[in-house]
């Protein structure tokens, strides 16, 4: 993918033009310390829309005042990207409305920028205590409810500050990035084959999607064509990942309303799928299958038939579960009209995946920016328009059927023979870069890679689906009652680990 180089002073003008034309939406934005290559910091902007990708790049002079114009007034979803660049690179977005810390918390000292190349990774970092203010609402009868970072259930950590008027939520501020592990910095200097293990472990529930995006970025960069059978197997396991996530999430939604029969059946079906995953890849989260250049294990035609048979049985049970939910007025009463995300809000925030499709936005990277063999498969992208918890539930349920149909299509026509499941990644031209993407159960995961000398990683950037969807949760809960927050949150089913990296 080519990046059009734009002078820093012209970037706003370009962004306004893109916004007015209305074809592209901001999909990712990140910085790269290229001072050793060009003497500058580079900021990359990736736009997607209308089946195409568009890239912009601007240079911030290494020795200069390290400022660049903020695009947040034009694209709302630039807000977090710019705060992240501010935290990690010390580049200042001029005109940003809220430059609180994002990725680094109060404990991080001022003036240290870990993603710069001259940051000494061995140094002892002193403890700091920088003030961090949470947004709050003042007025008669308004009170605050702080929740987290350690939650009451088995949930990942995040801090939520609700401003309440009675039971109604009038504002929600989320402080996240508690599980920030610095993976992007951690893999710098690693050979591409070794960094895979960390890419695959960015998130448990999106292991395949991350591995796939990562490997596809490397394969594009090195002009590698992977064997046809490997493509088939990759798509099968990517869809299996979507399946166990969606089925598990539907069961979990029942937990949000206290419907025990739904919880039990949902978690049972998820367990059956996890066991199938373990049979196919040796790991319940499908880890170890996708590798740069192909896949690691074969699926024989006999094994295909067994998988198909098992999936048929699971589908039957899944339909029974959905029947219980569709007929249940007490359940429907809780999910209908709860946590509505309006279409325009979803568009402004650049929401992706299930959440977007439930708010009437017809996007899916598998169809719009086809990768692997998705172009050869027949499938429908379900879209609902009500934007509530129910819509996100029905989209998932319909996608389960679609994923099963896709797996069936592939297993029936997959080439036989296990020769050639992977090819070797050839030496990559130093400082070339590329983008890989895939549609996870939560939406598009984008990975951008620049490889330095000896096939070692120079810069790795990960934009997960949750990165665009988290801000939508704080919008969707407004006007709802606080006991519905767990339900609304579960209906988005976002990963903290994907977001925090």
């Amino acid at each position: 993918m080519q990046y059009q180089e734009v002078a820093t002073c012209d970037i706003e003008k370009q962004a306004e033009r893109i916004d007015t034309e209305g074809v592209y939406r901001l999909a990712a934005m990140f910085a790269n310390d290229e001072r050793s290559i060009t003497g500058n910091f580079a900021i990359y902007y990736i736009f997607v829309g209308g089946g195409g990708l568009h890239g912009l790049k601007t240079m911030v002079q290494g020795g200069g005042n390290l400022e660049f114009p903020s695009l947040t007034p034009i694209f709302q979803n630039a807000a977090w990207y710019e705060r992240e660049i501010h935290d990690l690179f010390g580049l200042v977005p001029i005109g940003h409305p809220d430059l609180r810390r994002l990725v680094l918390h109060e404990n991080w000292p001022v003036g240290l920028y870990p993603l710069r190349k001259d940051f000494n990774v061995e140094q002892e970092i002193p403890e700091a205590n920088i003030p961090y203010s949470m947004a709050s609402v003042h007025g008669e009868g308004v009170f605050e409810v702080p929740v987290g970072p350690i939650h009451a259930g088995i949930i990942e950590p995040g801090h939520f500050r609700f401003s309440q008027s009675g039971e109604q939520i009038i504002n929600l501020d989320a402080k996240l990035f508690f599980t920030h592990r610095g993976i992007e910095k951690g893999v710098e200097g690693l050979p591409v084959e070794l960094a895979l293990y960390q890419a695959e472990r960015i998130c448990g529930a999106c292991s395949v999607s991350h591995a796939l995006s990562y490997c596809q970025a490397i394969e594009t960069m090195s002009h590698t064509k992977i064997p046809p059978k490997a493509e088939c197997i990759r798509v099968v396991i990517a869809e299996l990942e979507r399946l166990y996530n969606h089925v598990g999430d539907i069961g979990n939604l029942c937990a949000g309303v206290g419907f025990s029969v739904g919880i039990s059946h949902g978690s049972w079906l998820k367990e059956l799928l996890m066991r199938l995953n373990e049979r196919i890849t040796g790991n319940r989260f499908l880890r170890g299958m996708v590798i740069p250049g192909g896949v690691h294990m074969d699926i024989s035609s006999e094994f295909s038939r067994e998988i198909q048979q098992e999936l048929d049985e699971i589908l039957e049970k899944f339909r029974e579960l959905m029947g219980l939910l569709q007929d249940n007025s007490t359940f429907l009463d809780r999910v209908n009209y709860t946590g509505i995300l309006a279409r325009q809000a979803a568009l402004d925030l650049g929401v992706v995946g299930v959440a977007a499709r439930a708010s009437g936005i017809d996007i899916d990277m598998r169809r719009d920016y086809p990768y692997s063999i998705y172009q050869q498969l027949k499938f429908i992208v379900p879209v609902h328009t009500s934007g509530d918890v129910a819509a996100r539930l029905w989209v998932r349920a319909e996608e389960v059927e679609q994923s099963l149909a896709m797996i069936q299509q592939i297993l029936a026509t997959m080439p036989s023979g296990s020769e050639g499941l992977a090819v070797v990644i050839p030496p990559i031209t130093p400082y070339s870069s590329s983008l890989g993407w895939s549609e996870s159960a939560r939406g598009g995961n984008l990975h951008w890679l620049m490889v330095g000398e000896d096939n070692r990683i120079y810069r790795y950037f990960v934009r997960s689906a949750s990165y665009h969807n988290w801000p939508a949760v704080t919008v969707a809960v407004l006007g709802n009652i606080i006991p519905d927050f767990p339900l609304i949150n579960k209906s988005f089913e976002l990963c903290y680990a994907c977001l925090d990296r």
Binding site: I154, K270, E271, G282
Partner: protein
Amino acid sequence: MINILKKIIYTGTLTEKQDEGETPPRFRGEVIVDHAGCQDCKRCATLCPTKAIVITGSTMCINHNACIFCGRCVEHCESQQLHHTKQYELATVSNCLEEHMGQGVKASIRSALGRSLHIRHVDVGSCNACDFEMSALGNPIYDLQQYGIDFVPSPRHADMLMVTGVVTRNLTQALRMTYEAVPTPKIVMAVGACAASGQVFPSSYATRGAVDRIIPVDVFVPGCPPRPQALLYGLLLAMNKFKTI
């Protein structure tokens, strides 16, 4: 309503016994080495993504706490001396309790907690796979409550902390405060390779390594993530329900 009752009745009981979990042929469990045929090429140690293979002189040792069971060492061993077994019951008890309180106190804690165990989960930087496997323990197949074990919403109600993930800078304070909030006597279990070794994501500006670098750990459960049966084994081990310890 009728449909719900019908579904409950004809589904029946799904719960399995603790030792019923079979492992499929492709399952990658404990890594064992056949020292006799080892050519000492040290390839496995270099290739291991989490540096779980430690070679000192001529002895080779596999640190299962750090192993992510990816199979890379087994696959690349030229003399084919490394193998995966089906063994997933790899949890170990540290001598932490003994050091602090002596054998007698340890036994009494275990006998007291042996009847029931209340657990609080703390995610200090996990990828969520270990967390999902802990949630799976509550599904009808494993039905954790049959052993008298349950997850509780507050550390003040808990006997044990199950900690997942490599300790991040941003969660260190939360981990310390949660540990302080658990009434004594308390047990800490480090779940999965990140929590048990901290080596999955090597030290970075954002992490502080394994859980035992911040608070004392009593039980280590290897795995990436450990399957629910492996967690169950670790829990029952902590409760002294096995004669082997």
